[in-house]
Structure formats: structure tokens, C-alpha cells
């Protein structure tokens, strides 16, 4: 085997390391059997490398491939043929290639595929660690490429890593420039993204215990940054869904889908709410939930993002949120909604369970209503009831039976916000006041490093909205009556020492928030992550335009195109200059140039001058092929040789003249012959062969 096509031994180790590094984060997504196969193939390659095993034979290779294919299909059967299966097949393809790579050509394929696999990693994760991982992977793959192309004498680990690191570092500015400048074009097709089965966050049902279980999680729900000053903590109600159907135990979304999902623009303007006070602009980056609804403050108007608002002023995305979602909203410090309540909505806001066993609660409601002057007074009395009776706000409420409202109001009196919101709405409806439950989040932690607010799963909350004639929907939070510090300071202040709070988060840094430096570190890390998401992951066409307008002024788009076009043209013309210069320098002599033109003409007749063919040889060949041109050709060649290779400057002017005339005559003859033969001088500009 020729030594030039062999794979340097060191390069093989590099490639194996690079491949392992690239596959590493995806390994957990691979089914165990496939993972075993992948690692097995790599191990085999190592054995080949150390001379303890041989390359697999044709039969073995066929066997591996034809078992791996059905195996993949079988493993991914339940998920359908999607991205995961395709990525799995690609990884298998790469490791199989490992087994048969013997020449440089093969290893180059593996290296290119490793680059592709690195890029595929970004489909799954776009966090800072995955960015760092990709950079590292690219460096190691480049190291493999360096090692492959170095001769053995200089092929050592240190030099290769240094060169690879240099190359990667040198490419960073270019990458940044491309990232900032290349126009973002909407994808022509969308990738069917893998949908993780576990949905997170607030759900569209509320059974006592649901939201308190979220209190055990310290995972991030979303992050918000306000333009200007953030509203005070007690006003940070992040509205999610409106739950207005109660079956005696669970609150659900009622009504028709049409009503819920129809965009609010379709409704008459009086239903859109009355905006008052100061507008508040804010920017939300939401963690994936696998659900479609998103969060905003009351009566939010969507300024950017693919978000629509439904009839209950809840916000929805068109597709489940499988990746971080960024959108911008505008809310008002004061508002009124549904001053006129349509009959359908009113009946939904008054719905009671069909089989209602909460008789004591209904009785209590009627007693309180009889004692109060109007609906508002009644609400105040109910809230006072919560405050004065020994109600207890806890994350670990006791389980409730059939008549859940009765049991909570009169027996256990221990509950989380869903208990209070649910029972409160029940008490309203029992006396004919339209009311409904709203679930979402409340509060959030302010991060001073990047000036934004972090909202965690344990901030999940439920409250109530009550409709009054002439006022519309008014928000009441019965939890605030029981635990006022929950509203003013946040859930962390209330539950910090209660068992169960953030229990599911293990050794989350949240648990060490009392240690000063750890808490600062936590906030700092989150701030970095936030900045990354805000400026890198969600850098899209709008943000790009915004940025460019800041830099180039108003005409950013056109100047961007100009800059791109001009720089591309410049690069190509420089390259063209260097490429073409070599050939042109030698063609300066007019005699040579016209002689070459003759050769081009003759090429049309099927007699091209061969590369490296001397003028006399060419003349002899042409004369033999075309005897009718022989005499003229010989004269031209004689003159050419004399002019080009003879004694310079001897009677040259006359010779030149003679050469020009004979050459012109010959070319005319050649061309007329060619035209008669129906040939076209297509190659007039091609270089002589």
C-alpha cells in the first residue's frame, strides 16, 4: 500500500477521541442496545488499531448493517420515524465507517461527519455548556484533521493540539462576524422536533394538591425583563389559564374551544378591555413546558412573538413550547375587562357541580350574602372569614374527600393557594356572583446583575377573578387574606423552613440561598445564562436589524446587503486576480497571442494544440491532417518560430508584418472552412489546450 494513503496512527486516536466527544451528550438519547453497538464498534476499532483484531469481513459487515437497521426501527418504533431515529442512524453510519476505514479518504469522511454531528447537537440543546462542548468538539476534530495531514515526523500530540487550537481561535472572529451579519432567512422546512413526554409547569386542570406539588420544584419557569422599573412584588401576577368549570373536585377549562382559542381580534372592540394608566413593556424568555399557553400580566398586548390572546385574555402559542420561547408584551397598570358580560360567559362563570355535596359551604355563602349589603361587601366578608377563622397556609395540606370544599372550609382548614382560590370561587358562585379561577405564577426573584426577574416553578399560584356590574373582572387573592406575606414578599419567605419546599430539587443551589456568596454566584450564573439566551439564542432577524440599525443607522438592511455583496465581490476578485495572473503574464507578447488564437481557431476544426506540443510538431500534425492548409501553416510556423525563438530584433518589423498577414489569411481560411462545416467558434475564449 502506498504510504501516502495510509492513515497516520496518531490521527486514528484523534478521530476516535473526537467521535467519542461528539457522541457523548447524545448518548443518553440512544437506546441502550444501540449504544452498546456504537461503543462496541469503537472498541473494535481500537483493537484493530492495537493489532489484536482484524478488519471485519464482507459478511460480518453486511450482518452488522442489516441487524442495525431493523434494530433502530424497532427501538424507535414507538416514537415514529423522527429526528431521533435519523440521528441514531447517522451515528451508526459513522461508527460503521470506523470499522472499514483504511485510507485517508475514509477518515476524511468520518471527520466531516463528526462536524455534522456536532451541529446536530444544537438541535437538542442551545445552552452555554453545549456551546462550549461544540467548540471543544470542533477543536478536537480539527486536531484529527491536522494529525491526518501531517507527516509522521512532526505528528505529535502537542503540536497538533496547538495548531488545532490556533485554527479554531482564528475562526472565532469570522464566526462572530458571520453570526452577526449573515441575513437570517426563515427555514424552508421545519424539523419535527422530539417532544419530551413530561410536561412541566402549570397544567390546565387544578385539583387540590396540584400547585402545591409545584412548590417542591426549584426549576426555572421564565425570566422577565422590564423596560423601565419593575412593578412591585405584590403586582406580579403572571396570568396563565382561566379555569371556570368545576366538577366538585377539579377545576378545568370550560366552554367551547372556539371561545377559548379564537383570537380576541375577532371580537368587538368593547370586549378587548379598557386600558388605563401607564403602559409597562416587558420581555419574557420562557423555558420549554411542552404546553401551548404562555404567561403575561393582566391584559397583555403582544408586541412581538408568535403569540395570540384568547377570549379570557390568556396567551397562547400556536405550537407546544418545546424550546425556549421569547416574546414581548405590553400591559397597563390599570384596566377594565368585560364591562358587559355576554350570556355564555356569565353562565360559565356561574357553573356549579351537577352533584354538589358541599351543602355546608353553600349554606355559609347564603348566610354571609344575607348579612351583606352588596356583592362587594359580600366579597369582603368572605375574605374576612378566611382571615378570622383558623386557616393555615401550608405546602403540605391534608388530603380531601368527596365534598372537598366543605372539608377544607370546616374541617382541615389547611391549604395551599389552590384550596383558597377554589373555595373562594365556589362561595361566589353559590350566591350567583360570576367568578372564576386563574392559574399562573406570582412573584419572582429579582436578579440585579442583568436587571431581570426570575420566576420559578415554586412561584406557581392560583387566584380568583370576580365580575361586578360596571367594573368588569376584578382580581381577588384569598391566599393574601390568609398569608399576606406570600403576596408582599413571596413564597420563599413563607416556606423557607417548611418541609417539602423545593424538596424535588435535591442539592439545588436554591437551597443555599442563605449563604451569601453562594447566592451571589447563583444569581450571577443565571444572569449569564439569561444574557446568552437573550442575545445569542434568540438573535433573530428583528434583533439583527435592531443591532445593525444601531451600528449603521436607519438604512441597515440595504447597507448590510451592500457590505456583504461588496466584501464577497472583493474576496472573489482578489482570488481571481491571483489565479489569472499566472496565465496572463506569459501572454503579453502579441506574436504569441495571435499564434495561440490560431490554435484556438484550429481547435474548432478538431485540431487543438496539445499541451506541451511544440510549434513544429503542431505544424506537422496540422499539415498531415489538413493538407490544404499545409503550405500556409508551414509559413506561419516558420515565421512564428523565427520571431519567437530566433535571433531577436533581426529584421523583426518586416517579419512581424509578414507574420501578421499570413496568420490573418490563414485564420480567415480556417474560420470560413469551419463555418462551412457547420462548426461554431465556441471556444474563442478558452485557453489553448
Amino acid at each position: 500500500m502506498d504510504v501516502n494513503y495510509q492513515i497516520p496512527r496518531l490521527a486514528l486516536l484523534w478521530v476516535l477521541a473526537a467521535l467519542l466527544l461528539v457522541i457523548l451528550p447524545g448518548m443518553l438519547r440512544l437506546p441502550p442496545l444501540i449504544l452498546l453497538l456504537v461503543l462496541g464498534c469503537m472498541g473494535w476499532r481500537l483493537l484493530i488499531f492495537s493489532g489484536r483484531a482484524n478488519y471485519p469481513g464482507k459478511l460480518v459487515k453486511a450482518l452488522i448493517v442489516f441487524t442495525a437497521l431493523p434494530l433502530t426501527v424497532l427501538q424507535f418504533r414507538s416514537q415514529g420515524v423522527g429526528l431521533d431515529a435519523a440521528v441514531c442512524l447517522l451515528i451508526l453510519g459513522v461508527v460503521f465507517k470506523l470499522l472499514e476505514m483504511q485510507y485517508k479518504r475514509d477518515i476524511v469522511i468520518v471527520i466531516v461527519l463528526a462536524y455534522v454531528l456536532t451541529m446536530i447537537g444544537f438541535i437538542y440543546s442551545q445552552t452555554i455548556p453545549s456551546g462550549v462542548h461544540a467548540l471543544l468538539a470542533v477543536a478536537v476534530i480539527t486536531g484529527a484533521l491536522v494529525s491526518l495531514n501531517r507527516d509522521n515526523a512532526r505528528n505529535n500530540f502537542r503540536d497538533n493540539s496547538r495548531l488545532a487550537a490556533q485554527l479554531v481561535l482564528q475562526s472565532v472572529p469570522l464566526t462572530l462576524a458571520l453570526f452577526i451579519l449573515v441575513p437570517r432567512i426563515a427555514p424552508l422546512w421545519t424539523m419535527p422536533l422530539p417532544v419530551p413526554s413530561n410536561k412541566t409547569g402549570v397544567t390546565d386542570e387544578m385539583t387540590p394538591g396540584d400547585i402545591s406539588s409545584l412548590g417542591r420544584s426549584a426549576e426555572l419557569a421564565f425570566r422577565v425583563s422590564f423596560d423601565g422599573e419593575a412593578p412591585s412584588h405584590d403586582r406580579l401576577y403572571w396570568r396563565g389559564l382561566v379555569l371556570d368549570f368545576f366538577d366538585g373536585r377539579t377545576w378545568r377549562r370550560g366552554g367551547s374551544a372556539l371561545l377559548d382559542y379564537g383570537m380576541i381580534r375577532r371580537y368587538p372592540s368593547e370586549y378587548r378591555g379598557v386600558r388605563q394608566g401607564e403602559p409597562v413593556d416587558y420581555d419574557v424568555i420562557m423555558e420549554p413546558t411542552q404546553q401551548t399557553w404562555v404567561y403575561g400580566m393582566q391584559l397583555a398586548e403582544v408586541t412581538t412573538g408568535e403569540i395570540v390572546q384568547d377570549r379570557n385574555y390568556s396567551l397562547h402559542s400556536a405550537t407546544p413550547i418545546t424550546q425556549r420561547l421569547r416574546y414581548q408584551l405590553r400591559s397597563w397598570s390599570a384596566f377594565q375587562t368585560d364591562l358587559e358580560l355576554p350570556r355564555a360567559l356569565r353562565s360559565r362563570a356561574l357553573q356549579m357541580p351537577d352533584e354538589d355535596s358541599n351543602t355546608r359551604s353553600a349554606l355559609l355563602a347564603r348566610e354571609l350574602r344575607a348579612a351583606s349589603t352588596d356583592d362587594r361587601d359580600y366579597v369582603a366578608r368572605v375574605l374576612r372569614h378566611y382571615r378570622e377563622q383558623p386557616f393555615f397556609y401550608t405546602l403540605n395540606p391534608p388530603l380531601l374527600g368527596e365534598a372537598s370544599i366543605d372539608e377544607f372550609l370546616f374541617q382541615t382548614r389547611e391549604g395551599f393557594c389552590e384550596h383558597y382560590a377554589g373555595s373562594f370561587v365556589y362561595l361566589m358562585r353559590a350566591v350567583g356572583i360570576p367568578a372564576r379561577v386563574v392559574v399562573g405564577y406570582h412573584g419572582g426573584e429579582y436578579n440585579p446583575f442583568e436587571d431581570y426577574t426570575m420566576v420559578y416553578q415554586y412561584n406557581a399560584h392560583a387566584w380568583a377573578e370576580v365580575w361586578f356590574e360596571g367594573e368588569g373582572w376584578v382580581r381577588f387573592d384569598p391566599t393574601g387574606a390568609v398569608a399576606p406575606e406570600r403576596i408582599s414578599q413571596g413564597v420563599e419567605a413563607v416556606f423557607a423552613n417548611q418541609p417539602g419546599f423545593m424538596e424535588d430539587s435535591g442539592f439545588s443551589m436554591m437551597r443555599f440561598r442563605d449563604t451569601q456568596w453562594l447566592n451571589t454566584l447563583r444569581l450571577r450564573l443565571d444572569a449569564i445564562d439569561y444574557a446568552w439566551n437573550r442575545w445569542v439564542v434568540s438573535y433573530d432577524q428583528d434583533l439583527q436589524l435592531e443591532f445593525l440599525e444601531d451600528v449603521f443607522g436607519e438604512k441597515a438592511r440595504s447597507s448590510l446587503l451592500w457590505a456583504l455583496g461588496l466584501s464577497t465581490a472583493l474576496i472573489f476578485s482578489i482570488a481571481a486576480f491571483f489565479l489569472l495572473r499566472g496565465g496572463q503574464r506569459q501572454l503579453r507578447d502579441p506574436v504569441t497571442r495571435s499564434y495561440l488564437a490560431l490554435a484556438v481557431d484550429l481547435a474548432v476544426m478538431g485540431l487543438p494544440r496539445r499541451r506541451g506540443e511544440g510549434p513544429l510538431d503542431y505544424c506537422a500534425r496540422v499539415s498531415a491532417e489538413r493538407p490544404e492548409l499545409a503550405a500556409a501553416m508551414q509559413t506561419v510556423t516558420r515565421l512564428y518560430v523565427q520571431l519567437c525563438y530566433g535571433e531577436q530584433g533581426v529584421g523583426s518589423e518586416e517579419l512581424r508584418q509578414e507574420f501578421r498577414v499570413t496568420l490573418q489569411t490563414l485564420r480567415l481560411r480556417v474560420l470560413s472552412r469551419a463555418r462551412r462545416a457547420g462548426l461554431v467558434a465556441v471556444s474563442a475564449f478558452s485557453r489553448p489546450q
Binding site: 502506498d2 506541451g612 511544440g614 510549434p615 513544429l616 519567437c644 525563438y645 530566433g646 531577436q648
Partner: protein
């Protein structure tokens, strides 16, 4: 002059049938003042060619058969103590002739080879601390067998470079072979060659060759050829400047032999394979056996204008 050269070529052609091109190249090499390496199988007419060349110029000629036990002194000569005069007298070795046929040069040890090679390069020999000039002109025609390499000492590149040309002779064509078979045994072939030229002719030709014009375009062409051997991956290493000078020398002589006062690309192309083949090695060839194909490739890859 052209006719006289042609006459010499024909004269040699009577003993080396159908090999006009090789004969012309050999003559070109001698007129250019270079040494010649003939590489071919035994019995192809190497010695005949060498003999004929010597006779046609009327040069005095010696043949040295190189063997593995040949020592430098066997070639150069030794000083022997003369008892009568009581002095050392130098007895010249076989190298003190105008033309040497070094037969099977690769059979002898590098030590002996280098003794010959010093003589080739310097035109003089150093024996026992004394430098002695060799006759002028001084030609070496070396032969070697390219196939059976067992027990040989192949000439290294630096020594191959001393030869202006390397030619092979090759099998005769059927017509020539038939003629050869018919007249076999009728003659001692080398002896039949009559002298056509003399040493003065040779000196004259050499002077004339030096005046052959080389146009800038032609020198550009030669430079492109040289550059190609250095840039392209096809070649293990490029031609040395000495190789380039050798191409120019041979080109001039060839143009003269063709009756031209100016060299043209065809002249370069005619001599190039013989001049550069032994100086080149393919990029993927450790053995150096791919010379002829390489020279042809070189010619077909470089533009002539």
C-alpha cells in the same frame, strides 16, 4: 557541419542498426562535452555503440570492466619503484585515454566509482598526492544493467547527476533485427566504423554549439519545466540547477545538429527525457524506476508558447 554529423550518424548506423535516435543523442552528449550513461540489458549493443563513437571521432579508447574487486589504483595507475633509477615511476592506469568505456559501473564499490567520478567532474586525477591532468577531450561512457541488481552498488543521485544523459538502447525493430540476423558473424562490428570526424571537428562543434541562440521565450519554457518538477507532487524532488544547465547545453547542441542557429521547444523536448530521467524520481516511487514516464508527463503538462 550538419552533413558531417549526419555522416557520422550514418556511419555508426551501419553497426547499430535502426537506432538513429539513440546514436544522435549519444553524439549530442559527446559534442556537448558531457558523459554518457547507457542503461540497458546485456547484449543490446552498449559496447558496440561506445566503440563506434570512439572510432568515428578517431579518439583513443579504453575499456574498463568494472568488477566488485576493482580498486581505484586499477583505474588510475600506480607508482612502481624502479630499481635501476632508484625512483618511483608512475604507471598510468587505463583512465588516461580520451574515451573510456566504464562497463557495468554499478558492479564496483563506491570507492572505485568515486575515483572515476572525480576524473569525470574535474578532468584530472589525484594519485599519491599528485594531480595529473587527463587527456582532452575526455569522455566517459558508462553502462549499467538495470535489471539484475544483486551484488551491485547503485549510483547515488549525486553521482548520477554527473552524467549529462542517460539513454537506453532498446530492442531493434523487426526490420533492423532481420538485417542483423542476416549479417550476423560477418563482421566485427565496431571495427568496421571508419573515422568521420576528428578532435578538431569536435572542438569546432563545441564552439558552434555555444553560439546557438536561446530566445527569452525558450528560456521561459525551460524554466517552467524546471519549476514544474519542483512544484508538482508527481516528483519526489525537483531538478537541480545543474540539471537545468545540462538541459540548456544539450538543447544547444541538438539545435546545432538539426542545422539551426536557434533552439526551439522541439529541441528541448528531444533531449529532455535523456537529460532529466535519471535526475528525477516520482513522488510515489521509492525505486526511481519511473523516469521515462515522468519525463513524458512533464512534457505533456507544461505549456509551450
Amino acid at each position: 557541419m550538419e552533413q558531417r554529423i549526419q555522416a557520422a550518424v550514418s556511419e555508426i548506423g551501419t553497426v547499430l542498426l535502426g537506432k538513429e535516435r539513440q546514436v544522435r543523442l549519444a553524439l549530442c552528449c559527446l559534442i556537448s562535452g558531457g558523459h554518457l550513461l547507457i542503461e540497458d540489458l546485456p547484449g543490446m549493443g552498449k559496447t558496440t555503440l561506445a566503440h563506434a563513437l570512439a572510432r568515428v571521432f578517431g579518439l583513443d579508447f579504453n575499456r574498463i570492466q568494472f568488477t566488485s574487486d576493482l580498486l581505484p589504483a586499477d583505474i588510475l595507475g600506480v607508482s612502481i619503484f624502479d630499481q635501476q633509477s632508484g625512483r618511483f615511476n608512475f604507471h598510468q592506469g587505463p583512465i588516461f585515454r580520451q574515451m573510456i568505456l566504464a562497463d557495468e559501473i554499478n558492479r564496483t564499490t563506491p570507492k572505485t566509482q568515486s575515483a572515476l567520478l572525480e576524473a569525470m567532474e574535474e578532468g584530472q586525477v589525484s594519485v599519491e598526492g599528485e594531480t595529473r591532468r587527463l587527456p582532452s577531450p575526455f569522455f566517459v561512457i558508462a553502462t549499467q544493467n538495470p535489471v539484475s541488481l544483486a551484488g551491485t552498488f547503485p549510483l547515488p543521485e549525486s553521482q548520477l547527476d554527473r552524467f549529462l544523459m542517460r539513454i537506453g538502447i532498446g530492442y531493434p525493430d523487426p526490420h533492423a533485427e532481420r538485417q542483423l540476423l542476416e549479417t550476423a558473424g560477418e563482421r566485427d562490428r565496431g571495427e568496421l566504423v571508419r573515422q568521420q570526424l576528428n578532435v578538431n571537428d569536435l572542438i569546432e562543434m563545441r564552439k558552434a554549439a555555444a553560439t546557438v541562440g536561446l530566445s527569452p521565450q525558450l528560456l521561459d519554457y525551460i524554466q517552467r519545466l524546471l519549476a514544474r518538477t519542483r512544484d508538482s507532487d508527481d516528483f519526489h524532488f525537483g531538478l537541480s540547477p545543474r540539471g537545468g544547465v545540462a538541459v540548456v547545453r544539450a538543447t544547444r547542441t541538438w539545435a546545432l545538429m538539426e542545422g539551426r542557429q536557434h533552439a526551439i521547444p522541439e529541441d528541448v523536448q528531444a533531449v529532455l527525457p535523456a537529460v532529466v530521467e535519471h535526475r528525477l524520481r516520482s513522488g510515489s516511487d521509492g525505486e526511481g524506476r519511473s523516469g521515462p514516464a515522468l519525463a513524458q508527463r512533464l512534457l505533456s503538462e507544461v505549456d509551450v508558447f
